[in-house]
C-alpha cells in the first residue's frame, strides 16, 4: 500500500450526506461504496439513492438497521440503483417505487475484504472506498482528531455503525483511516471520522466489504 491515499482528492466521493433520525447507516455505507466503484469503473461520479434500499430491500430493516451484505444482494436483485435525484432520501420507510428504467448503476457481485489492515489499505488504494462497520463508542461526542479508544471500551464484538473508508494516511506519525460518516457535515471533521489504523480499533477491520462492478 502507498503510505497515504485519499479518494476525495480523486473525485470518487460524493458530498457528506445525512441519515437523519433513522438507523440507515448501512444504506449510506453501501451506496457510498457503489458510488466509488462506479466512478472507478465507469468514470462518472453519481450520487445514489439510499431511499431505494430503505424501501425495496426487504431483507434489511430500513431505519431499524441493516447489513451491507444484504444490501448488495438487494441492489443486484433489484437491477441497480437509482440516483439521489430520482429517488430522494426521506429518512423513513415508504412503499418501494424503484423503476428499473431509472436505474443508473448496477453491480455484478460483492466481496468480503481481508481483516488485515495493511491489505485493506492496499485494497482501498487500488480498488476504491470500502464499506466498513465499527463499534461507535465515543462517536456521539467526537469532534475532530484521530480517535483511538481503549480496546476494552470499544470492543470489535459490538459493531453498531456502518460507514465508508475513503482513504488513509498519517498525522504526526499517527496512522489513521479517513472515514465518511452519514451524520451531516455539522458532525466530526466536516462529516468525517478519523480512526486509528493498524490496531483493529473499534473493529474497523471486521466487516469490510465492497461491491464489484465489471
Amino acid at each position: 500500500a502507498p503510505p497515504e491515499w485519499d479518494w476525495r482528492r480523486k473525485g470518487a466521493v460524493t458530498k457528506v450526506k445525512n441519515q437523519g433520525m433513522c438507523g440507515s447507516c448501512w444504506a449510506f455505507s453501501v451506496t457510498g461504496n457503489v458510488e466509488g466503484q462506479w466512478f472507478l469503473n465507469r468514470g462518472t461520479l453519481l450520487s445514489l439513492s439510499e431511499q431505494e434500499l430503505l424501501d425495496c430491500d426487504k431483507v434489511d430493516k430500513a431505519c431499524m438497521g441493516g447489513l451491507p451484505s444484504s444490501a448488495y444482494s438487494a441492489i443486484k436483485n433489484l437491477g441497480g440503483l437509482e440516483t439521489e435525484d430520482d429517488y430522494s432520501y426521506q429518512g423513513h420507510m415508504e412503499a418501494c417505487s424503484f423503476s428499473a428504467k431509472k436505474a443508473k448503476v448496477y453491480i455484478n457481485d460483492s466481496v468480503e475484504l481481508s481483516k488485515n489492515e495493511q491489505k485493506l489499505a492496499a485494497w482501498v488504494a487500488v480498488k476504491g472506498p470500502i464499506s466498513i462497520a465499527i463499534n461507535a463508542f465515543g462517536m456521539q461526542f467526537y469532534r475532530h482528531g484521530i480517535a483511538h479508544p481503549l480496546r476494552p471500551l470499544c470492543s470489535p464484538w459490538f459493531i453498531d455503525h456502518a460507514m465508508l473508508v475513503v482513504g488513509y494516511g498519517n498525522r504526526s506519525d499517527i496512522p489513521f483511516w479517513a472515514i465518511k460518516n452519514s451524520w451531516g457535515t455539522d458532525w466530526g471533521e466536516e462529516g468525517y471520522y478519523y480512526l486509528h489504523r493498524g490496531s483493529g480499533s473499534c473493529g474497523v477491520n471486521v466487516m469490510a466489504s465492497s461491491a464489484v462492478v465489471d
Binding site: M21, G23, S69, Y72, M93, L153, D160, D186
Partner: protein
C-alpha cells in the same frame, strides 16, 4: 421516526403520567427485573417515560423508568423506618405480534437528594450515582455551554421540564465526554456535538444499527488481495 410529542417532554421528576401505550412494555420490563425475587422484595414501578419506534408489525420501546425497592431485603430484620431505594432504569422492549421481548436492561441507583424539583439549578435534576453534587463553577460553565448548544443547533424544547431534563442529559454527557477524552490514546477531541442532549439510549436507538452486531447476513466470497495473481 422521532417520538411524538406525547412521548417527549418531562424531566426526572417532572415526568408526565405514562401513556397507556408505555405501561404495557414498562410492566413487562418490571416483571423481567423482578424475576427470581421473593415477594416483598420486588421493585415497584415509579415513573415511566419513553419513546417508541415502529417498523412493520413491530414496535421498539425505549423506556426510562424509576423503580422503587426496599433497601432492606428482609422485613423481619429491618429497622424502622424502612427506607426505599430508587433505581433509574433504561429498558429496551420489542413488541411484535402482541409479544414482548426485553432487549436491554440497565439499572443504577438514583440519589434522591439531588432530584428535588423545587431547586432549579441543574444539579437538582441530575440522577447521579455519585453522592457529591457538581461544584457551582462547573454548573455555571455547563449552563453556559448548554445555552450555546441550544443556539448553535437550533434546539427547541416543548416545555420547561423537557428543557430541564435535556440540560441534565447534556451535563451527564459532558462528564462522559471528559471520561472518553481521558481514555483516548489518539489525538481525538470529544465534547459538545449536535447529539449532546440525547441520552446514550436515545442516540443508540435513533442513529445506530443493532443488526450489525448479529453479522449474520449473506456470506460473501472473500476478495483476492490486490497484487495476487
Amino acid at each position: 421516526a422521532p417520538a411524538s410529542p406525547e412521548f417527549r417532554a418531562a424531566g426526572v421528576v417532572g415526568w408526565e403520567p405514562p401513556t397507556r401505550e408505555l405501561l404495557g412494555p414498562a410492566r413487562f420490563a418490571l416483571d423481567a427485573y423482578n424475576r427470581g425475587r421473593a415477594a416483598g422484595t420486588r421493585a415497584v414501578l415509579g415513573t415511566v417515560r419513553g419513546r417508541v419506534r415502529r417498523a412493520g408489525q413491530g414496535s421498539l420501546y425505549s423506556l426510562e423508568a424509576t423503580l422503587e425497592e426496599l433497601s432492606c431485603k428482609d422485613p423481619m430484620v429491618c429497622q424502622l423506618p424502612v427506607s426505599k431505594k430508587t433505581l433509574l432504569c433504561s429498558f429496551e422492549v420489542l413488541e411484535e405480534l402482541g409479544k414482548h421481548m426485553l432487549l436491554r436492561q440497565d439499572c443504577g441507583p438514583v440519589d434522591i437528594k439531588v432530584t428535588d424539583v423545587r431547586n432549579e439549578t441543574f444539579n437538582s435534576v441530575l440522577p447521579l450515582s455519585s453522592r457529591e453534587p457538581f461544584p457551582k463553577e462547573f454548573s455555571v460553565k455547563i449552563a453556559s455551554a448548554f445555552k450555546n448548544f441550544v443556539t448553535t443547533y437550533n434546539r427547541t424544547y416543548e416545555s420547561k421540564e423537557e428543557a430541564q431534563w435535556r440540560l441534565a442529559v447534556f451535563t451527564r454527557n459532558m462528564v462522559l465526554a471528559q471520561k472518553i477524552q481521558a481514555l483516548d490514546r489518539g489525538t481525538a477531541q470529544y465534547g459538545v456535538t449536535k447529539f449532546s442532549d440525547l441520552t446514550e439510549e436515545e442516540f443508540r436507538t435513533i442513529y445506530l444499527n443493532p443488526l450489525l452486531q448479529e453479522q449474520s447476513g449473506k456470506k460473501m466470497r472473500l476478495a483476492k488481495a490486490v497484487g495476487d495473481p
